[in-house]
């Protein structure tokens, strides 16, 4: 039994950008996980979601 991906969704504490990280990236990104892709500020955790096709609310960050 399995099911991925699962995302943590954030709003940037600085520029208010909305973005999400797949939780399986925690191991790879370490301290960078959860940071805003635009300004680098830590995001404020908002919600946790499974993948929803075509959901444009949060930009995925994976690098």
């Amino acid at each position: 039994m399995s099911w991925g991906l699962c995302y943590l969704c954030y709003t940037c504490a600085g520029c208010r950008k909305k973005f999400k990280y797949a939780i399986d990236m925690i191991a790879e990104l370490g301290d960078d996980f959860g940071k805003c892709p635009v300004c680098g500020m830590p995001g404020i955790p908002e919600s946790e979601i499974a993948i929803i096709s075509g959901d444009p609310t949060y930009e995925e960050v994976d690098t």
């Binding site: 039994m1 099911w3 991925g4 946790e48 993948i51």
Partner: protein, 280 residues
């Protein structure tokens, strides 16, 4: 002779729905046709989950029976190995998690070798009493356990049950990697899982899959390290970054391609039976 690699397809799982990917097969008829297509593309094992009429995971044995019945009647040429889940609904009872095995006697069934927090939101319970009962029943019913290990501790647990007689050698493992709360999917961790298995349960066979970003790394890693592979929409609804999978067959075709290009061959069901000692 080229090495044979077994492709397992996990078509449906308990969680992804049409809203996640409209191509996930949900009904017995959809699953039947999907399994047949995957068999033609090179899958030797089909790992089956069922859904109720609302699309939620269910252990309803009638759904399993319908699916098997359709597969046998529509596609009598299909000799794919059926591997039925015992963990298709977090709220199923010990009885409903096993009833389909007792009634349908598939060649394989999943055996989740430990409990864990599921997706950070629920409990995935596999207590000792259940695992002992399930292991002994599977031996009695001639159903080979596919031991799903979400972390190395579950391999150690399988070794304990092997020594206790609850499980019988040779064991077959499925390393489930990259799942929320399980071991992250990486080559380093795959090697660690393999070495843990080899030290605690020698002579076992193993397969693996990676959820999400690790899917391809684990696929290539398994082939390179001499393991077997599992693919399908139970584990990944995306074929590649941002691209929804068009079908489970697409995943099987890619796995078969990787195996061939490495210099191995996808095992037929008959060859998989030999590799896994499915000799009942």
């Amino acid at each position: 002779m080229a090495r044979k690699t077994i492709i397992t397809v996990a078509t449906t799982g308990a969680w992804p729905k049409k809203e996640n990917n409209p191509n996930v097969p949900m009904t017995p008829a959809e699953i039947c046709e999907d399994v047949y297509e995957c068999w033609k593309a090179g899958a030797a094992i089909a790992h089956l989950h069922m859904r109720d009429d609302d699309g939620n995971g269910t252990m309803d044995k009638e759904k399993f029976a319908q699916t098997v019945g359709l597969l046998r009647s529509r596609h009598p040429d299909c000799d794919i190995i059926l591997n039925m889940t015992t963990s298709g609904d977090l709220y199923a009872t010990d009885e409903t998690r096993q009833a389909h095995l007792r009634e349908l006697r598939p060649e394989m069934g999943s055996y989740d070798c430990g409990s864990m927090n599921w997706m950070h939101s629920a409990l995935f319970l596999n207590p000792p009493q259940f695992l002992e009962e399930l292991g002994r029943n599977m031996q009695e019913w001639g159903v080979k356990p596919e031991i799903e290990a979400f972390d190395p501790g579950m391999i150690a647990n399988a070794a304990y049950y092997l020594k206790k007689g609850v499980l019988k050698a040779p064991l077959h493992f499925q390393f489930c990697m990259g799942c929320a709360n399980g071991i992250p999917g990486s080559m380093k961790n795959l090697i660690f899982m393999k070495e843990t298995m080899e030290s605690m349960c020698p002579s076992s066979t193993w397969s693996c899959f990676g959820v999400g970003h690790s899917a391809m790394e684990i696929l290539y890693g398994a082939v390179a390290l001499g393991g077997h592979v599992r693919v399908g929409m139970e584990d990944n609804v995306l074929y590649s970054k941002g691209i929804l999978a068009g079908s489970n067959r697409q995943f099987v075709e890619r796995a078969a391609r990787v195996i061939r290009e490495y210099g191995s061959e996808a095992a037929t069901p008959a060859e998989a039976r030999e590799i896994l000692s499915l000799n009942r």
